[in-house]
Structure formats: structure tokens, C-alpha cells
């Protein structure tokens, strides 16, 4: 029983990370039709930004305070990187989907190489607040505290994005654009400005995912963003591209399947089982590839 509770909580915590990583990806694809392979670089940028910030702050400050500032810097860096990439690289290639894929793939390779060149290929350990490294006993299981943090952050992000989509003018334009961006333009709305905002928003979420993932892994490394991106893509495809609620559900399912398979089958089977889940979903529900409403 305690094993199951542990697996469920860690699975949901992992799913929370996947959701944070996938939410921006899903919005960007849903609205703009851009498969952003550079999303992993946004995450890596956020992770390194937070690591550098936390290292630069006085060691006498409380660890949690340094982490919060690191997170804020990571979110800001992610947003700026997303904005710059959209304006400089994506916008000139609007409607040229193959070229967009090539550019974002190229950027993801260049980003990893740049991080390796500057900080080396080896993982660099990150500090973690003591409480987040500890555990809480619940139903006989000793649950890692950091998973609760990821879950709370993911819930906050989910609620914030839902509020944005359903309570604001920007959200209305995004929801309409996910359905039919040409018609949004044909109603006199400059959908390109919305693209830039959504890319910056996606970048901010990616920066957040990057720093939390580095807390999860206990280190930053150049390829970290790329490995999280693979799962984020799987989550987005299973959840129905462009659907935020679908992304949330898929993230939790993927996290749970991975965790349970790793424990009950064999270590390492979790990754395989997620790919099998993806194949299964695509066979049974191929429409999930086509996108949905935000």
C-alpha cells in the first residue's frame, strides 16, 4: 500500500513537471501550428539562468529565497528567449512549416552546443532547499516533498492559463486563433502580435519547467531540456495539440504510467511504456494529432 501511494504521488509529481514543460508547447502549436523543437533550449536557458542566479546570490541568504529569485529569473529569461526567437526566426517563416521545424531543430542543437562550450558537458549540481530534499510521511509512505512543490506550481500554472484563456481578451483571441487563425485575421485582429505574446508565454513556462526539472534532477546539464522535451511532445500529442485540459490529463497519465512501469516491470521500462502509450493513443484516437480547442 505504501509503495503504491509513493508511486502515485511521485508519478503525479513527474506529470506536473511534464505539464509545465508541455503547456507552452501545446499553446504554441495550437495557435500557430509551430512544432517548437527549440522548447528544450528555452528550458535549458531557464535552468542555467536560475543556477547562475542562485550561485551569484550571497550564500548567507536562505536557500528557499535564492530558489524563488532563481525561478523568477528563469521565467523572465525563458520569456525573453521565446520572444526573440519568435520575432527573429519564426515570424519570417510564418506558414513555412518545414523551415520552421528546421530552424527550431537547429536552434536546439546550437543551444546544447553553446551550453556545453560555456559550462561544459558535465552536469553541475544545483542547491536544493532542505525542506524540498526531505520527505513527509503519509499513509505509511515517505513522500518526497519536492513533488508537492511541482504539483502546486503546475496547478497554479493550469489555473492561471485557464483564467487567461477564458477571462481575458488575449485568451479569447487565442481560443479563436486555435480554431481558425485566418478568420481571426479576417476580423481585423492582428494575430501576429498574439503569436509573439504566446511564444513569450510558452518560453516563460519552459523556463519554469527548466528550473524545476533541474531541482528534480539535482543538477543542470546541457542536454537536460532536450530529454524533458521528448516527454513534453508525447504529452502534447496524447492530450490533443492545443488543448490545455487535454495536456494536463495526458501529463498526469504519462507520469503515472512511467513511474508504475519503472517499479512493477523493470527500471527503464517506464520510458518504453510511455512510447507504447503514445502509439496506442494514436492508433485508437488519431484525431488527437489534429488539435483541439484551447
Amino acid at each position: 500500500m505504501s509503495d503504491l501511494v509513493l508511486l502515485l504521488v511521485t508519478g503525479v509529481g513527474l506529470g506536473a513537471l511534464y505539464f509545465i514543460a508541455a503547456s507552452g508547447l501545446s499553446l504554441i502549436y495550437g495557435l500557430m501550428g509551430v512544432l517548437n523543437f527549440a522548447h528544450g533550449v528555452f528550458m535549458t536557458a531557464g535552468a542555467y539562468a536560475a543556477w547562475l542566479t542562485m550561485g551569484a546570490l550571497p550564500g548567507t541568504w536562505p536557500m528557499a529565497g535564492r530558489l524563488v529569485i532563481g525561478v523568477l529569473v528563469a521565467v523572465a529569461v525563458g520569456a525573453v528567449v521565446g520572444l526573440v526567437v519568435e520575432v527573429l526566426l519564426i515570424r519570417p517563416l510564418y506558414r513555412h512549416h518545414i523551415q520552421q521545424v528546421l530552424v527550431t531543430v537547429g536552434l536546439s542543437l546550437a543551444g546544447v552546443a553553446a551550453a556545453q562550450g560555456i559550462w561544459g558537458a558535465d552536469p553541475r549540481s544545483v542547491d536544493k532547499p532542505a525542506w524540498m530534499s526531505g520527505t513527509t510521511e503519509l499513509l505509511g509512505a515517505r513522500l518526497p516533498n519536492d513533488r508537492f512543490v511541482y504539483l502546486l506550481v503546475a496547478l497554479g500554472l493550469f489555473a492561471g492559463l485557464l483564467a487567461l484563456l477564458h477571462l481575458t481578451r488575449l485568451g479569447l483571441v487565442i481560443r479563436a486563433g486555435v480554431e481558425n487563425r485566418t478568420m481571426v485575421e479576417a476580423l481585423g485582429i492582428d494575430v501576429h502580435r498574439t503569436f509573439t505574446v504566446v511564444f513569450a508565454l510558452g518560453g516563460a513556462a519552459a523556463g519554469l519547467a527548466g528550473v524545476l526539472h533541474s531541482q528534480y534532477a539535482g543538477a543542470v546539464s546541457p542536454a537536460q531540456g532536450g530529454s524533458l522535451l521528448i516527454f513534453a511532445f508525447i504529452v502534447v500529442v496524447i492530450g490533443g495539440m492545443g488543448s490545455l485540459t487535454g495536456t494536463a490529463v495526458a501529463a498526469v497519465v504519462v507520469g503515472l504510467v512511467q513511474q508504475l512501469a519503472n517499479y512493477y516491470a523493470a527500471s527503464g521500462v517506464g520510458d518504453l511504456s510511455v512510447v507504447l502509450l503514445l502509439a496506442l493513443v494514436l492508433l485508437l484516437r488519431p484525431t488527437s494529432l489534429k488539435g483541439a480547442t484551447a
Binding site: 479569447l172 479563436a176 478568420m183 485575421e185 481585423g188 494575430v191
Partner: protein, 253 residues
């Protein structure tokens, strides 16, 4: 204006005053297809101008080229200002309202949200909606995707009427609608046309006869006829020749 026609329609093909829209030698190519091959015509600043022709001659493409939704060359002038290099949203804000073929309402949004995209402050509460589309006021919270075809057409029309327009482009507004709804749409168009000129693509000839003042007929990507609507629709031979609506050319595409 002539005395023979007691209606308010202008029988003169080109009324005095500058046109609201001018197309000059507009070409559209998609891949290897040359869809519009030098289309030139004026849309007068009053009344309804119907754009007619058989299926596939480029009527919808003409509207899309004006809106910047099709890759085009040539000159397009709105009230004397060149707009052929402008992006779609700018053209709309410059004064052209566009009601596309197949309505293209946002099915996942409510009726009110569809309208608030254009008029964030009023949406379905705008006076023009209550006046022309009272049914939409009662359905404000309904998802547009669950509306009937006629109701979706009303949403699509209402959306553009929330803006001040110098010209409306309306593409087959009665396509697939029951006869009663065709009449309702025609009533709305006739009322709107009193204040805003309309360039209308329409296959329904009785409707063209009722509300259009002038016609422009396309064939194979060029203009082949311009004139008063009554002259064309009242002349069976000419209609057959230009539009193929006869036993001989029935179903020609």
C-alpha cells in the same frame, strides 16, 4: 436612374461618384494554376454588386485576393488608396468587412464571444444585433458550433456589422439554407445595402434579381460581362451564355 423600374435599384451600371473599390489587372496563381488572369472592375459606392459566374471561375478567389488571403499581383484600391500590399487585418481595419463562404464562425466560442472578438465592449449587446439579429441575443451563451446553418450565417454577418465598413464582401451567404432562411438573409442584406455597398458572390439568381443593382460576371479568371442586374437576370439567353444555367450547360463547372 431610369423610370421603368419603380424599385429603389439603380439601373445604370455605373452610378456617378468614385467607386469604393477598384481592381486593376489582378492575377492570382496557386502553384501551377493561374486562377485570376487579369481581373479588372469597379465596385460603386452604393448598392449591391453581384459577382457571378460558373463554379470554379474565381469568384471566391477574387474576394480572397481583395482580402489579402490569396497571393495576388495587380492593383487594388479602396477609396483610392492602394491596399494590395497590406495584410488582411489592416485591410479589414481599413474598412472592408468579409463574410467568407461557409460562415467560418468559431464553433467552440459562444455567440457572444464570436461577436466580442470584433467589438469587445458590446458583443451581442450592440444595437445593430438587437435590430437585425434578435435571435442571436437570446442565444448569446450558446456555442456557435451548435447553431443551425442559418443562425451561423447570422453570426457571421453580425460579426462584420459591428465595425464601420466602407464595403462588405459577402461570399454565398445563402448556400445550403432553407428557402425561408434565404429570404431572411436577403432581407438583412437589403437593409445593410442601404448604408453600405456590398460585393456579393451568389448563385441564387432570384436573390440576385431581388437585391443586386449591378453584376460582374467572371469566366475562366477574367471579367466577361458588366451591367445592370435586371438586364442579365431578365435575359434568359444571356444568363445561359454567361452562367450556364440552362439544359445545355447544366452542371458545367
Amino acid at each position: 436612374m431610369t423610370e421603368e423600374n419603380p424599385s429603389t435599384r439603380a439601373d445604370a451600371p455605373e452610378p456617378p461618384g468614385p467607386p469604393v473599390l477598384t481592381l486593376h489587372d489582378v492575377h492570382v496563381r496557386y502553384g501551377g494554376s493561374h486562377i485570376l488572369q487579369g481581373v479588372s472592375f469597379d465596385v460603386p459606392a452604393t448598392g449591391v454588386t453581384a459577382l457571378l459566374g460558373r463554379n470554379g471561375v474565381g469568384k471566391t478567389t477574387t474576394l480572397r485576393s481583395i482580402m489579402g488571403l490569396a497571393p495576388r499581383t495587380g492593383r487594388i484600391l479602396l477609396q483610392g488608396n492602394e491596399i494590395q500590399a497590406q495584410r488582411t487585418a489592416r485591410i479589414v481595419r481599413g474598412g472592408i468587412g468579409y463574410v467568407p463562404e461557409d460562415r467560418e464562425v468559431f464553433g467552440g466560442l459562444t455567440v457572444d464571444e464570436n461577436l466580442r472578438l470584433v467589438d469587445p465592449d458590446h458583443g451581442v449587446d450592440a444595437p445593430v444585433v438587437a435590430r437585425l439579429f434578435p435571435d442571436l441575443v437570446t442565444r448569446r451563451g450558446q456555442r456557435a458550433g451548435t447553431l443551425s446553418g442559418g443562425q451561423q450565417q447570422m453570426v457571421s454577418l453580425a460579426r462584420v456589422l459591428l465595425r464601420e465598413n466602407a464595403l462588405l464582401l459577402i461570399d454565398e451567404p445563402t448556400k445550403g439554407l432553407a428557402p425561408k432562411l434565404v429570404t431572411e438573409v436577403a432581407d438583412v442584406l437589403a437593409e445593410v445595402a442601404l448604408t453600405t455597398p456590398i460585393l456579393l458572390v451568389e448563385q441564387n439568381l432570384p436573390l440576385v434579381r431581388r437585391i443586386a443593382d449591378r453584376v460582374v460576371v467572371l469566366d475562366a479568371g477574367v471579367v466577361v460581362h458588366r451591367g445592370a442586374a435586371a438586364d442579365l437576370v431578365g435575359d434568359a439567353d444571356l444568363t445561359r451564355e454567361l452562367l450556364g444555367v440552362s439544359m445545355r450547360r447544366e452542371g458545367a463547372a
